[in-house]
């Protein structure tokens, strides 16, 4: 017995004194040091940067389904425009874009800012690692080019939302540029002009590096040229805008959707010949009612909230041409008797540019660049440089593919109009809901006219709405480009932690 007890005792002592190495590795993450040493790791990091455009990642300790880069981008851009009206007061900060009641603590701008810089950090890590390689092959250079492209696009979208238009104040504070891994965290905002220079340099480098296109779900030389055309147009470098638009148009890789195919362009973005670059959403990325881009602007009755609608202002701009196939993305919600239904007094015209991939109401692969925009960029630059006939030809190129064969300009300016107005009017209809309208209005130093019914009008009650009249006596019916509220406040998080970052007025 004693021996047995002694053995038992020794066993316990042995068991407990076996000094273990206390090392634990995470099961679903990889250390940064390991990541950059393998090709796979770098490819994964680039893929992760794309994924951040569509994922809902944790912010402030929570995964909030409202938070998605693209959802935020479209809402912050287009809910501030005259294309979309608000049918429902809501606690969601998207409401601030309608009312201009911005705040540095609104969750959507904070998340957008955060994820933009996470994308940038991710690609900066890859750029840093690849540039240390002695002689990268074409495939690796393609990856590197995509990284430069994503950095350029992220910085550009940031400067559009948080900095004034280049054409208005090039020396005003832009955003914080992050172009390497070594800068201090605390850093001042660069000027708008500096940001544009950085974006252009990155995009040019990207265009030169990318020679192995991987499909429209990934960046390509043409996507980079498309970005260069857009940025130069915003910068009012019209010659360069035309030059880069031509590069894309003449690449031969893309063609405009036709009257027949346009209505299904957005549901089939990844296979459409018009798509230059889109963000791939697969069935696994169908976020449903609580997290998709579509759910705020469309509902089949169950699929979404459907609380924001195509504005009467946009519909009026399209009213002359009911045959225009671009109407196919504006779908009225009708009751049994065929009357358009109202939400809190506002007519419900759903928007379907972000729906119906695989037939799903909340699924689409949002298009970042498509050929039509290149024609419109070229047309605007031409219009601004006096090449009116060429500009009108570009508009006709679009119009004849949208069911307006009988309403072409044929190089002649209609009486009492000017080419730039026509280009902007065409762009408004063609690119509606795709995140262009507010920038196009304000950078051209125009006012945004929001004189229509909707809950951007503060204090409006359903009973005040009289669809037979236009609203009057309310505030917020017009937004001049001089308003400080055409852009958003920097997120409070940045201001509190980065003393060099100066808040917007």
């Amino acid at each position: 017995m004693k021996k047995k007890i002694f053995t038992l005792f020794m066993l316990f002592v042995a068991a407990s004194s076996g000094c273990k190495k206390l090392e634990v590795n995470p099961s679903d993450a990889i250390s940064t040091g390991t990541l950059v040493t393998t090709n796979d790791g770098l490819t994964n990091a680039l893929n992760g940067a794309y994924a951040l455009l569509k994922d809902h990642i944790a912010f402030n300790g929570t995964v909030d389904n409202n938070n998605m880069y693209l959802r935020q981008f479209y809402q912050l851009s287009d809910f501030a425009s005259d294309d979309i009206t608000c049918g429902q007061i809501t606690e969601d900060p998207l409401f601030n874009s309608f009312t201009l009641g911005h705040s540095p603590s609104q969750a959507n701008t904070r998340y957008f800012w955060y994820v933009s810089y996470k994308i940038i950090t991710g690609v900066n890590t890859v750029i840093d690692a690849v540039e240390k390689l002695p002689d990268p092959d074409a495939k690796t250079k393609q990856l590197l080019g995509e990284c430069y492209f994503l950095r350029a696009l992220s910085h550009f979208n940031l400067v559009r939302l948080f900095g004034q238009p280049y054409s208005i104040a090039p020396d005003a504070p832009g955003i914080i540029l992050r172009t390497n891994l070594t800068d201090e965290g605390i850093k001042a905002r660069s000027t708008i002009a500096e940001v544009y220079a950085s974006v252009l340099a990155d995009a040019e480098q990207a265009a030169a590096l990318m020679t192995q296109p991987r499909g429209v779900q990934y960046a390509s030389a043409e996507a980079a040229n498309g970005l260069l055309a857009r940025v130069n147009l915003y910068k009012e470098d019209n010659a360069k805008a035309i030059e880069y638009a031509n590069k894309v148009i003449n690449s031969g890789r893309f063609s405009l959707s036709t009257k027949a195919t346009y209505p299904s362009l957005f549901a089939n973005a990844t296979t459409s010949p018009e798509t230059i670059f889109c963000i791939a959403f697969t069935a696994a990325d169908d976020y449903g009612k609580f997290g998709s881009i579509a759910s705020m602007i469309y509902s089949d009755g169950n699929s979404g909230w459907g609380e924001e609608f195509a504005s009467s202002s946009l519909r009026a701009a399209m009213a002359a041409h009911p045959e225009d196939v671009r109407w196919s993305y504006i779908v009225p919600s009708k009751d049994a008797s065929g009357t358009v239904q109202k939400k809190n007094g506002v007519e419900m015209y759903y928007i379907t540019k972000f729906s119906f991939q695989n037939g799903q109401p909340n699924l689409s692969s949002p298009i970042m660049f498509r050929l039509a925009e290149m024609y419109l960029i070229r047309a605007e630059a031409e219009a601004k440089t006096g090449a009116t006939a060429a500009a009108l030809d570009d508009l006709d190129m679009i119009r004849k593919n949208r069911g307006l064969e009988t309403a072409l300009y044929n190089k002649s300016l209609p009486q009492g109009s000017n080419a730039l107005d026509l280009v902007l009017a065409e762009k408004r209809i063609e690119m509606a809901f795709e995140g262009h309208r507010t920038y196009d209005v304000f950078r051209n130093k125009r006012s945004l006219n929001k004189n229509y019914w909707g809950y951007h009008i503060l204090g409006l009650k359903e009973t005040d709405i009289d669809l037979g009249k236009t609203p009057s006596g309310y505030q917020n019916l017009s937004v001049p480009y001089t308003s400080p509220r055409i852009i958003y406040y920097l997120p409070v998080d940045e201001i509190l932690t980065n003393p060099l970052a100066i808040q917007n007025p």
Partner: protein
């Protein structure tokens, strides 16, 4: 030296055993002096010998004595020690034992060791099973509310099976775990049923917690399960059954009529800035849009969704002791239906505790606990709509079934969203199941008289499964497709402690203690899957046809330690204890894994000094003091590494996303604790304990905010301090004690203040709904940070907030009001943590009747009543039901209305944005529990062969007195992922509970 000690001990031992050749027996019976009830399990020892027996079920004993006179020493938990002189051969000795009101000689389990209460040098509170039994719940935490000075217990949710938030002496960490460590039967962690609990010891200062080193920052709660007390097998049975109702507090929604009248305010003729406002209510328009018939449609959504629900608790145990074996077997079944439809919780628990005495040197303890639970949880959105849907909408169709409504429904539906939560509840469920096994193996081997090897080990494993199911019939995003999501969690681990214990006594000096090693390891494995496209009627993953997603990951953590403690006392007057623990944790980088946690404490038992001997006023007086360090490492694995997470995909290919900044020097957070205490016993009936403490948590494991533009929100660093200072008072008093009537009172209160220091910069945490809290130097934890609400502009009816102006140095130079929310100054607005809280409990006994009333109070905290954002919304969302306004609330009616407290619905831009408008005083006083019981006369119970039967009625959560507007003010202070501490959202309401209990012993 050791050899000498050994020799000494052997001599002592030899002296004791030389002896008693001629043995005779003394027998008798021991009863309680109070009610003459027999006392089973009393230890009867022959003074000066090792002869010990215990009384049987009828209080009888028989013990061998030498010839002539000898002395018996009688000890029993809860009674005063007594010495009785007997003559050899004497039989039928009747001994009456007096109850020990002050229980100073009780043995207290303080984690790795046990001590007599009088020998304690640390701040410790013991709660016996007797004190816990008034409240019936599945969680011990809820039972402790108001019974331990310094322990804050918040029952923030009434969901079936919900656990409360528990905080000891305030909150001392920011990002690390803040819940006390639970230790069950001497081993960290573990599972148990509240019915099996014998006693709970709350360890409050470093003198006792430092032995738990890196896991003890938030205090330690030691749970001891029941063991056999006497020879004969005894059974105990308990049945409790009753029902619960939802307690909405002051969240009373408007009835149809009230809402109807309220909405007239929306029709006031007023456009801000317009020249021709009449400020009159346009009744014509109102009646056109709100027909009078609406008044006849009055459906209370909360009352339809929350209904009274039954609760049952059954418990049966057997305990006994033979010469070789002590055993306890307990079985419990707990079943609770939720007040919210389709929610419930049930749990079954089996425990077997056995100690086998192989020899007088070797004991082996085998304890096993098996438990299984299952239940149904709820969806937040269903609760949300149950409060907010309009009383003008009928939840049911003509057949009485919940009506189906969606965006395509053509009938009039007033509520903001076309959602019927009752229909959703009927067509979905959120169920969970779990199974848990604990096995403890203890070995005690007395190597020599002064040295014991003791080993305690636990293997634990649990498996939990959660399912979310939405039928294709439910309205909403899964209409027609259905949705199924399952998550499985497997958890397993071991804890092993090997200690050598020693105990010496030479003359007036005694020295004891232990040294040893410990190891803890645990692993968790998660796996889950979800998908849509379910055929109607089926709900397994096999039939999911689209959107299939899978997920899974593992976690692990290890801790290895050395630990030791030495206790010294001189003449039972001066006590000194020192302990040391050395911990290594896998949470940190290899060079930063180890930390030291020392503690020292002392006590002077003044009442054992001659000058106080025999005092009838001051019969007990002890002064205590302690200093020590505890730590925290509980922040999750690998926080020191720079990481890319691989959990996402783009275009169906894996993606790596920047996840965490590297922090290679990250290490322990340590809490330096100083405690001084005084224990006073007066008139042999009043006990008073006072403790003061100052706890400084240094090198906080803090998520330091980064400029967002680096792509990371935070970086883990050791930065800043939290200082908690407080005073605790506990009083127990036997006010009246006689044969027929007893009245006793206990009272606890603690004041705690905390302050942040040494932060590199202020941190603002903004959670859901843009509700922020600021962590700043000199500020409190969980301090709300928001614009200050100034009420209503009497001229325009618009909302007003405070705007401060500052001079260059940052000092406030002026205060003005603004109706532009963006201009309002964000300010510190008070903390979610109370200034003081405590309990006041009274027990009355008249003959066989007993009445216990427990109350709890909490003062000085702020609670953000987020519900009001929706339910007092100034017409922003006219199709949400509203809260019944307090009597002094008034909506603005026209220029010059200085009485108005609520803005004009016509001019209320941003009025529901986060501000102090909804930040309310969270103080309350609640009657926590009333328990009335009657003990059947012995004559009756013995007729059915029962030893005792007690019947009782209890009511829980009887009433809460508070000015708080919203659901009841008990609000979570968990700084978890979803919630901000102190924010009351649409929560599962707490319950009032009414129970009928019967206890049998036989």
């Amino acid at each position: 030296m050791i050899k000498k000690l050994l020799l000494l001990c052997c001599c002592l031992l030899a002296m004791h055993t030389g002896g008693f050749s001629q043995e005779q027996r003394v027998s008798g019976r021991i009863v309680s002096a109070k009610d003459s009830q027999p006392l089973p399990g009393v230890s009867v020892a022959l003074k000066g010998s090792s002869n010990i027996v215990s009384t049987d079920g009828s209080g009888a004993f028989s013990i061998g004595t030498p010839a002539g006179k000898s002395t018996l020493v009688l000890t029993f938990v809860g009674f005063l020690r007594k010495e009785v002189e007997v003559n050899a051969g004497q039989s039928s000795v009747q001994i009456r034992l007096d109850e020990d009101v002050q229980q100073l000689n009780d043995v207290v389990v303080v984690g790795y060791s046990s001590k007599k209460q009088s020998a304690l040098t640390s701040a410790v509170t013991v709660v016996s099973a007797e004190q816990l039994k008034d409240v019936t719940t599945n969680n011990v935490g809820s039972m402790l509310q108001g019974k331990v000075a310094g322990l804050q217990v918040v029952n923030s949710s009434g969901a079936p099976g919900a656990a409360p938030d528990i905080r000891l002496r305030g909150v001392s960490s920011v990002n690390a775990n803040q819940s006390p460590l639970f230790v069950v039967d001497g081993i960290i962690g573990g599972n148990y049923d509240p019915n099996d609990v014998e006693s709970i010891t709350v360890l409050k200062d470093a003198a006792s917690t430092a032995l738990y080193g890196s896991q003890a920052n938030a205090g330690v709660i030691v749970v001891t399960t029941k063991k056999a007390k006497q020879g004969q097998t005894r059974f105990e049975a308990k049945v409790a059954t009753g029902f619960r109702t939802a307690d909405f507090g002051k969240l009373q929604v408007m009835s149809s009529n009230e809402l109807y009248d309220h909405q007239k305010e929306f029709y006031r003729d007023y456009i801000l800035g317009a020249p021709d406002n009449s400020y009159k209510i346009d009744l014509g328009k109102f009646y056109a849009e709100r027909p009078l018939t609406l008044r006849d449609q009055n459906y209370s959504w909360p009352e339809e969704s929350f209904q009274s629900a039954p609760i049952y608790n059954f418990y049966l145990s057997a305990a006994g002791r033979t010469e070789k074996n002590d055993y306890y077997v307990g079985a419990s079944y707990y079943n609770e239906k939720g007040t919210f439809q389709n929610t419930k919780y049930q749990r079954i628990n089996l425990r077997g505790n056995s100690t086998y005495h192989f020899s007088n040197k070797l004991d082996v303890t085998n304890n096993i606990n098996l438990s299984a639970n299952m239940g149904k949880s709820y969806d937040y959105m269903d609760v949300y709509y149950s409060f907010l849907n309009m009383p003008w909408d009928n939840p049911y169709d003509e057949t009485g079934k919940p009506v189906y409504v969606d965006g395509n429904s053509t009938f009039k539906w007033w509520s903001r969203d076309k959602v019927n939560p009752l229909h959703t509840i009927e067509n979905s469920d959120h169920s969970y199941k779990g199974f848990d096994v604990n096995y403890d193996l203890g070995v005690n081997y007395r190597i020599t008289d002064w040295l014991t090897f003791s080993s305690s080990n636990r293997v634990a494993a649990s498996f939990n499964k959660g399912t979310n199911f939405v039928s294709p019939l439910a309205a909403g995003t899964y209409r027609g497709s259905g949705y199924l999501n399952e998550l499985n969690t497997l958890n397993y681990g071991i804890v092993s402690n090997q200690l050598l214990r020693f105990a010496f006594k030479f003359g007036d000096h005694s020295l004891n203690g232990f040294a040893g090693a410990a190891f803890e390891g645990s692993q968790t494995e998660y796996s889950g899957a979800s998908g849509r496209g379910l055929p109607e009627g089926l709900r397994v993953l096999n039939v999911v046809s689209n959107n299939q997603l899978v997920n899974g990951y593992n976690n692990q953590g290890y801790l290895q330690s050395l630990l030791s403690q030495v206790d010294y006392n001189y003449k039972e007057k001066y006590f000194l204890t020192a302990s040391f623990r050395y911990d290594g944790s896998s949470a940190f980088a290899p060079t930063k894994q180890y930390g030291s946690f020392p503690a020292i404490s002392g006590a002077w038992l003044i009442s054992n000094e001659d000058f106080l001997a025999g005092s009838n006023i001051l019969n007990y007086l002890k002064l205590r003091g302690s200093y020590g360090i505890t730590g925290t490492q509980d922040i999750g694995a690998s926080r020191y590494l720079g990481l890319y997470s691989l959990t996402t995909q783009y275009n169906s290919v894996v993606g790596a996303v920047p996840y965490q900044l590297a922090s290679p020097t990250l290490t322990w957070e340590s809490k330096n604790q100083i405690n001084a205490g005084l224990d006073i016993g007066l008139f042999k009936r009043v006990n008073l304990t006072v403790d003061v403490y100052r706890n400084n948590t240094k090198d906080l494991l803090l998520q330091v905010s980064q400029p967002l533009s680096v792509g990371f929100e935070t970086k883990w660093e050791n930065a800043g301090n939290v200082v908690n200072k407080g005073i605790e008072l506990g009083i127990t008093s036997a006010n009246i004690q006689n044969k027929n009537f007893d009245w006793s009172t206990d009272f606890t209160i603690n004041f705690n203040s905390n302050k942040l220091e040494g932060l590199p910069a202020s941190i603002v945490k903004t959670g859901s709904w843009s509700i922020s809290q600021i962590y700043r130097n000199g500020g409190n934890l969980y301090e709300f940070y928001m614009p200050k609400w100034l009420g209503v502009d009497a001229q325009t009816g618009g909302p007003l907030w405070e705007k401060l102006t500052y001079d260059e140095s940052g000092a406030v130079t002026g205060r003005e009001s603004t109706s532009d929310y963006a201009q309002a100054t964000i300010q510190e607005s008070g903390s979610a943590l109370p200034k003081f809280q405590g309990g006041f409990n009274n027990n009355f006994r008249y003959k066989n009747f007993n009445l216990r009333v427990s109350t709890y109070f909490n003062y000085g905290n702020k609670v953000f009543s987020n519900n009001l954002r929706f339910m007092m919304n100034d017409g922003h969302e006219p199709y949400y039901n509203q809260i019944q306004m307090p009597d002094d609330a008034k909506i603005w009616t026209g220029p010059g209305d200085t009485q108005a407290t609520e803005p004009s619905p016509q001019n209320s831009a941003n009025s529901t944005e986060t501000s102090t408008r909804y930040l309310k005083n969270g103080s309350y006083f609640s009657i926590r529990n009333i328990a009335l019981s009657y003990r059947l006369p012995k004559a009756w119970s013995s007729k059915i062969n029962m030893e005792g039967i007690t019947v009782g009625l209890t009511a829980d959560n009887v009433a809460t007195f508070s000015n708080f507007l919203g659901q009841d003010p008990q609000t979570t202070i968990q700084a978890g992922s979803f919630g901000t501490p102190g924010v009351s959202d649409f929560k599962y309401p707490n319950n009032r509970q009414y129970l009928f209990n019967i206890n049998f012993s036989f």
